[in-house]
């Protein structure tokens, strides 16, 4: 018997999101969707750098005060992952660069002043973070954390897991282009996932996914365009300026979190080092450079 496809669209974490499930029991599917959205909202409340009532906001507010937080297991694991990515990227992936990302994530289509950039650069640096599991202290006043590049991807995994725990085997969670597939359609066929073209309208590729994560990092998201020049939201913490890298990087991995981390790192490393990193990692990937040249294979 073919199952019933239930599709639910919503907005969360500033992005259009969707959940698609296939299950003969519509009530169970509805319950799974509610549980999945619950996970996304929980993580948004906990780690959003847009909200001032998040746990992350509490950490940031304590910067320079000497206050020490004992992190819960989930937050501690996120910090361990962030520390690993910081090391793997030679310091380019930096969750302490919140002041910079906030500066470049601007509603107005103007460049920040050089003095603003310098001020923000003065407030970043992993060395100002004291992280000795499970104890966290933000040593420098003005230090702002940004878990962008991890939280949305992690939320896609947790939302999918919430459905799996309720007995759903077939379904897809998509949070703003980051995808986690729980399992194939009930008839065994894979889900067809479209990857957005970073420049043209429409899709760059459609790939069949039975299971696992697919994440895309692109310079089109929240990009700033000034005098015809595009500035992505991904900022090099060393220079304080948005990176000139790929137009987009998509990676497949067992989880959306692993895929998203790899895509973000490749984006930060730039075309040459990023391609080497993706190749060494050995995960299926698809890249588009600024000239529109497509590389890799998903």
């Amino acid at each position: 018997m073919s199952g019933l496809l239930i599709r639910h669209q919503f907005r969360a974490m500033g992005c259009p999101c969707s959940i698609q499930l296939e299950h003969p029991d519509a009530r169970l599917a509805d319950a799974a969707i509610a549980a999945a959205i619950g996970q996304v909202e929980r993580l948004d409340r906990k780690y959003s750098h847009y909200r001032d009532d998040s746990l992350l906001a509490d950490w940031c507010a304590s910067a320079g005060s000497g206050r020490v937080f004992e992190l819960d297991a989930e937050s501690a694991a996120l910090f361990d992952l962030a520390a690993l990515l910081h090391a793997q990227s030679g310091g380019l992936f930096d969750i302490t660069a919140g002041a910079l990302t906030r500066l470049w994530d601007r509603p107005q289509q103007t460049l920040p002043e050089p003095t603003e950039i310098d001020a923000a650069r003065a407030c970043i640096g992993w060395q100002h973070l004291s992280w000795q599991r499970p104890l966290l202290r933000l040593a420098l006043a003005g230090l702002r954390l940004d878990l962008g590049g991890l939280v949305k991807e992690y939320a896609a995994d947790r939302a999918a897991q919430a459905c799996i725990e309720l007995g759903i085997a077939a379904g897809v969670v998509e949070l703003g282009g980051d995808v986690r597939v729980m399992g194939p359609h009930l008839d065994g066929s894979p889900w067809r996932i479209g990857i957005r073209h970073p420049r043209a309208a429409g899709t760059l590729a459609r790939i069949d996914v039975r299971e696992g994560g697919l994440a895309t990092s692109g310079d089109y998201e929240r990009a700033l365009i000034v005098d015809g020049r595009r500035y992505s939201h991904i900022v090099d913490p060393r220079s304080g300026w948005p990176i000139q890298s790929y137009a987009s990087v998509s990676v497949r991995a067992a989880s959306c979190l692993a895929a998203g981390a790899a895509a973000t790192l490749a984006m930060l490393l730039g075309v040459q080092a990023g391609t080497g990193y993706l190749r060494e990692l050995g995960l299926p990937h698809l890249t588009v450079d600024l000239d529109g040249v497509v590389g890799g294979e998903l």
Binding site: A26, L84, D187, E211, A254, S255, L257, A258, A262, L281
Partner: protein
């Protein structure tokens, strides 16, 4: 290079696994069905003959079936199932027809009640090859006092696109017929029948709630295809049943499935058109509704219509005594038709699922075409009950 690459990936996967677990494994283990056992008891009971037979018992066949099946997984992608069947049959069956004073056929039934048991053992293996589809193989052996059959089957399925699946299969059966009381009733001592079958199907996903399968099956049998227990009345002679030693059958199949979200149910509509080299044509239309209900109940009412035209060499008898090379008065080769209604109820209770079903089939002479109905036509009631148990 390789060492470093794996180290990079392993570091990343280890750090993410602390948050999301070994992701692929969790989804796989949930989709996996593990091991299950099932048991079914069936009772198939044919109606008494009406009008009463000219001679012999009016108590027709009754078959009680006990069936066990074990399904288990071998590794990540292989499934194995093993089945055992025990059947106990009793009753009498139509022997031949005899004309009354008006020339209408009267049934003569086999005199003694037949008692026989059948045992079958079967095994099936399948492998899910992910995007490359699936393959499977099966084998079975069935034994009765007077009939032995060994069969082998292969099937193969693969997606042609996200919306179309291709299925192909083939099977072969080698049967040995060893009739009882051969000398006393002028039956053959021993005979062999071989059957080859091939089928192909395309399944189209029409949209997310409906799919259509179109299939074709070709079957060829040769060897002894007559029924050693049936006779044929020709004037003053009672002859053995005599059918061609070759039979080629073709069938076209359409299956449509549609899920209804609001009703939490699904409609299945099937149509089968079949024809063979003996001149038998048939149409089968079947409709069933799968309804999910609270407390993990599922109820499936169904209706089936069947309509058949007679084989070219079928006749209830030859009053004048003239016979051709082939002649048979087997009611199954006559024009006949039936309507059947069924209902299945099942409920899942944790690891257990119980199931009970009943089917009532009634012969309807008006549904047959291309000939007279045979007095041996059968109506029956079938009840089946059992359970499944899923090991965690």
């Amino acid at each position: 290079m390789a060492e470093r690459s794996s180290a990079l990936l392993l570091q990343l996967l280890a750090a993410t696994a602390a948050l999301v677990g070994p992701a692929a494994a969790s989804a796989q283990s949930d989709a996996a069905s593990g091991t299950s056992v099932s048991y079914r008891h069936g009772d198939y009971d044919e109606d008494r003959l009406e009008p009463a037979p000219l001679d012999g018992s009016d108590r027709r066949y009754r078959v009680r079936t006990d069936q066990f099946q074990l399904n288990t997984e071998l590794g990540d992608s292989d499934q194995l199932s093993v089945g055992l069947v025990h059947e106990a049959m009793s009753g009498s069956s139509p022997w031949f027809s005899f004309p009354d004073a008006d020339g209408d056929a009267l049934q003569v039934m086999s005199g003694a009640t037949i008692r026989d048991t059948r045992h079958e053992v079967s095994a099936a293996w399948s492998r899910d090859r992910g995007d490359a589809g699936s393959i499977g193989a099966s084998a079975s052996y069935s034994a009765e006092d007077d009939y032995h059959a060994a069969a082998l089957g292969l099937d193969w399925q693969r997606p042609l696109s996200a919306a179309i699946d291709l299925g192909l299969g083939a099977s072969f059966s080698h049967d040995i017929i060893d009739p009882t009381d051969a000398a006393e009733f002028d039956r053959i001592d021993r005979a062999i029948k071989n059957t080859w079958s091939a089928f192909g199907s395309l399944t189209f996903v029409l949209d997310r709630s409906s799919q259509l399968q179109a299939g074709m099956q070709l079957t060829h049998a040769n060897g002894y295809l007559s029924d050693p227990y049936k006779r044929y009345y020709a004037g003053d002679r009672i002859l053995s049943d005599a059918r061609p030693d070759q039979r080629t059958q073709g069938a076209l199949l359409l299956r449509w499935r549609r899920a209804f979200v609001e009703q939490d149910g699904a409609l299945h509509l099937d149509y089968r058109l079949a024809g063979d080299s003996w001149g038998v044509r048939s149409h089968t239309v079947e409709a069933s509704w799968y309804q999910s209900l609270p407390h993990a109940f599922r109820i499936v009412p169904g209706l089936r219509w069947y309509s058949q035209g007679a084989a070219s060499f079928y006749a209830p008898f030859s009053a004048a005594g003239t016979v051709g090379t082939y002649h048979s008065s087997d009611y199954r080769l006559a024009a006949n038709g039936s309507v059947s209604a069924s209902i299945d109820v099942r409920q899942r209770l944790g690891a257990w699922e119980w199931v009970i079903g009943i089917e009532r089939l009634r012969a309807h002479d008006a549904l047959g075409f291309g000939g007279e109905p045979d007095p041996g036509r059968v109506s029956y009631t079938q009840i089946q009950a059992g359970f499944d148990y899923h090991f965690e």
